[in-house]
């Protein structure tokens, strides 16, 4: 299957998954104790508004009908209105998702770079000192709660040594510039990336160890190829699909971590918005955040699937 047709089919498969996502997000609303209309409009809603919304949602009708109505407006880009801000959720969410994606891109960069380097360093030295150090490092990284690591990084690098700014994604007074963004991004990106670095390294490393134990590696060694070539060419090439796959999965985990780092570093992204929305019991915003993140996650996974597919010679 060509890459394009594969991507096309995967996109088709993503549709039922996304539909399922909407069902879950919709059904989650049923978890909210109390009156849904009140939940959606907020306690300041007037009686007329409540009645109108109840009518619109068809709260007296079956869940299916309600869902279809909800889905229909969703497809038109209407995730609802924020209770706390009285703005369309999309309008609040869009700039935030951009900001989060910037932070995620930075984290993903760290994840992929460190994951790759650490794996290549450790796997060929299986059970040697370098390998043990890398395994130890990933263990520590995997065990650090992101919210705590964020505080620690902030305390030392932001406060004690004043190496990095501690809040926001740009200077409020004099915003702009890629360098400034990078400077703001490094600490939160590292905090966000930490556990994912561990996951990616562990999976990639063990896959690479697997690959290095494959007969074709033994055969390549028997043919006299240098260790260097074997690791950097054959082992890396055969580990790449796993690497791309686990790397793609990190998009989801990073979203999980980003919520915490954004709160700690005051990064104006989806996480911070979600946090505020939780405190505000702003259900439409929570739903919107979750929907968008799921969408990005599904698309990200799709992308990594396509990459994995492209890397698989069996598909040629």
């Amino acid at each position: 299957m060509s890459i394009l047709s594969f991507a096309g089919t995967r996109l088709l498969y993503a549709i039922p998954v996304l539909l399922g996502v909407t069902v879950i997000v919709f059904m989650a609303l049923q978890l909210v104790p109390g009156d849904i209309a009140l939940t959606l409009l907020g306690r300041m809603a007037t009686q007329e508004q409540l009645v109108a919304l109840r009518q619109e949602l068809g709260l007296d009708r079956s869940l299916v009908v309600q869902y279809l109505g909800w889905l229909a407006s969703l497809l038109q880009g209407d995730i609802g209105h924020s209770i706390s801000q009285q703005l369309p959720v999309t309008q609040i969410l869009m700039p935030k998702i951009g900001n989060s994606l910037i932070l995620m891109a930075g984290s993903l960069f760290f994840v992929l770079t460190f994951g790759f380097i650490l794996s290549v360093l450790s796997a060929p030295r299986f059970r040697q000192l370098t390998d043990k150090l890398v395994v130890g490092l990933t263990l520590v990284l995997a065990s650090l709660p992101v919210f705590w690591l964020g505080i620690v990084l902030l305390y030392f690098f932001g406060f004690k040594w004043k190496l990095f700014p501690i809040s926001g994604m740009y200077n409020m007074v004099n915003p702009g510039g890629f360098g400034q963004l990078l400077h703001h991004m490094i600490l939160p990106a590292i905090a966000t990336a930490s556990s994912s670095i561990a996951v990616v390294t562990r999976v990639t490393r063990s896959r690479m160890i697997d690959v290095l134990g494959q007969p074709y590696i033994l055969a390549a060694r028997a043919r006299g190829l240098s260790r260097h070539k074997i690791v950097l060419r054959h082992a890396v090439r055969n580990t790449l699909p796993t690497f791309a796959n686990i790397g793609g999965l990190q998009i989801g985990y990073l979203f999980g971590s980003v919520i915490f780092t954004e709160i700690i570093f005051n990064w104006p992204g989806v996480g911070l918005l979600l946090f505020d929305a939780i405190l505000q019991r702003d259900v439409p915003v929570i739903q919107g955040c979750v929907l968008i993140v799921a969408l990005v996650f599904v698309l990200g996974n799709l992308m990594s699937d396509v990459i994995v597919h492209a890397l698989d010679p069996k598909q040629r």
């Binding site: 306690r43 880009g77 706390s84 951009g98 994606l101 409020m172 405190l279």
Partner: protein, 543 residues
């Protein structure tokens, strides 16, 4: 940042397909991060407050923090002069009205409007504009009536009879009964604000979108808002009063709820001024070269009691609760002395305040006894709804836990549930939830307008904020009499009556009064506190 604005505009069209928006956002992420700054940064103050802002529609907005911004964009007929410092009671000065006449019976106010004042969008200020605004706030069948306004601003217009346009620059308001606080209340805000918004803007954007385009007459104009991130106001170069023309180009206001983050942002120079540093951090901040400003404030912490709750129906239980609180230690340790114990419903800096008054004494043993008498020898369980706080609040969660411990000592086991400030007030409007026995928030004001929102039966749910269902019509009467009192003494006396009735029922109890504290970087000059929840930012500057 350019991209943010772009995305903002792009999505402000209602129901813009969010697929396209997402795609564009992605494209921007990939390509647009390096865009140059969108506005000049000379002489900008970054001001961090305790929470993000509510709506920028003065007739529908809430929270002190929002009002701190709104009072600089929108103006009223009269204003308070807040430039004299925290120890001076502010004078009422002319604003959109050059002068005013009060009728003999104290029921009619005739405002002579200032000429040549224009809203930021060029709309002229005149009596029609004033009428438009009053219609919007009070007239239910008016096309642009702000539905939230009556609920929010009962304290302002409860005595309103009617109003009329006398001529282009004369506007007359008639009250049903005299109100000695009327002018003072015109300068207030927080739960709505009786301030003037551009009729053209309201007509253009409609009630829903106006808060994204707030247009007033004030010394600052709205520049930009990114929800959850920042709110930027810029100097209005055409401001009518040259003396109050802001010294800075713009002020960036940020809501940073986390006090440590706020403090660190100040220390690292990312912001210039912060509200309410933690009392515990003051030494640390001073050591970092930061200046601490503090002063009197009308703010005190008040506790609502759910009169519908089976446990608290009994006045002895309510009394016991009052007696369980160790106010002295709380002020001393929790607030490090930046607070004084408070009793009763009258706040410092407000009318009728008596520092010597006490509605109960700290007496845990007595409280236990009272509880036993009420049938709870082993105490009971209840819940407290709390808010993370807003303007000038710090560590309210800590307060909640303190109270939780004090109550537990007498047998009242209370769980705590925390809410965002805006959400909290939404809930308060609808009354305390079933199962919630206690709730608390900071309030108190320079007028007793706030008592008008908290105590009378007209404020019973779903109208804010008699959230504990304290149903005592006698107080409606007393409050009206207090408003209508001819003299300060008369008003104080009436207010004492109010206080004593409430203390008798123990429907509310307060626990401490906090000073207002701000921390500013040394290069910030001219920031003056006032004995109010808000201040005047026209004098602030940076060197």
């Amino acid at each position: 940042m350019e991209m943010r604005l772009l995305a903002y505009r792009m999505t402000s069209r209602k129901r813009a397909g969010f697929g396209t928006a997402a795609a564009t956002a992605l494209a921007l992420v990939l390509g647009g991060v390096a865009t140059a700054p969108a506005f000049a940064a000379e002489n900008t103050i970054v001001f961090a407050v305790e929470s993000d802002f509510s709506r920028l529609d003065p007739h529908a907005s809430r929270t002190w923090n929002t009002f701190k911004v709104l009072r600089h964009i929108f103006e009223s007929f009269v204003e308070e002069d807040l430039t004299k410092g925290p120890d001076v009671a502010p004078e009422i000065v002319p604003a959109l009205a050059e002068k005013w006449d009060v009728s003999q019976d104290g029921k009619s106010y005739t405002f002579h409007l200032r000429k040549d004042v224009k809203f930021h969008d060029g709309t002229p200020w005149n009596a029609e504009a004033a009428k438009f605004n009053l219609d919007r706030m009070t007239k239910k069948d008016f096309e642009f009536h702000q539905k939230l306004s009556p609920g929010l601003m009962g304290w302002m217009w409860q005595d309103l009879d009617n109003y009329e346009v006398v001529d282009e620059y004369t506007f007359k308001i008639n009250l049903k009964q005299p109100n000695s606080e009327f002018l003072r209340r015109l300068t207030s805000g927080g739960s709505g604000a009786p301030r003037m918004i551009s009729p053209t803007a309201v007509k253009t954007f409609g009630n829903d979108a106006i808060e994204q385009h707030p247009v007033g007459t004030g010394p600052f104009k709205f520049a930009e808002r990114v929800v959850g991130e920042k709110l930027v106001i810029a100097r209005n170069d055409d401001y009518w009063d040259p003396a109050r023309k802001p010294k800075v180009d713009q002020i960036v206001l940020r809501g940073i709820p986390e006090v440590a983050t706020r403090e660190l942002a100040l220390v690292s120079g990312e912001v210039d001024v912060i509200g309410t540093p933690s009392p515990d951090s003051l030494e640390f901040l001073k050591a970092q070269g930061v200046e601490i400003l503090s002063g009197k404030s009308p703010m005190f912490y008040l506790m609502w009691i759910n009169m519908k709750d089976p446990h608290f129906k009994d006045v002895r239980v309510r009394k016991a609760m009052c007696m369980a609180i160790n106010r002295d230690d709380m002020a001393k340790y929790q607030r490090k002395g930046l607070a004084t114990p408070a009793y009763g419903v009258l706040n410092p800096e407000g009318p009728g305040y008596d520092p010597a008054y006490k509605d109960c004494e700290y007496d845990p043993e007595g409280a236990k006894k009272l509880l036993a008498e009420a049938g709870y020898p082993d105490g009971f369980e209840t819940r407290m709804d709390w808010t993370f706080g807003a303007g000038a609040d710090v560590n309210t969660k800590g307060d909640a836990e303190w109270l939780q411990r004090d109550f537990e000592k007498v047998g009242i086991k209370a769980s705590i549930e925390m809410f965002d400030n805006n959400t909290f007030w939404d809930m308060m409007s609808n009354g305390m939830r079933e199962g919630t026995g206690l709730t608390s928030a900071s309030w108190g004001d320079s007028t007793f307008a706030w008592l008008d929102q908290v105590v009378p039966t007209t404020a019973l749910p779903p109208n804010c904020c008699n959230s504990g269902y304290y149903d005592n019509a006698k107080l409606d009467q007393l409050l009206a009499e207090a408003r209508g009192a001819a003299s300060k003494e008369g008003m104080d006396a009436k207010l004492h009556e109010v206080r004593d009735v409430i203390a008798g029922d123990m429907a509310f109890t307060s626990y401490y009064t906090a000073s207002s504290v701000y921390a500013v970087r040394p290069d910030v000059k001219g920031f003056v506190l006032s004995p109010r929840h808000w201040f005047d930012l026209t004098t602030i500057s940076k060197q």
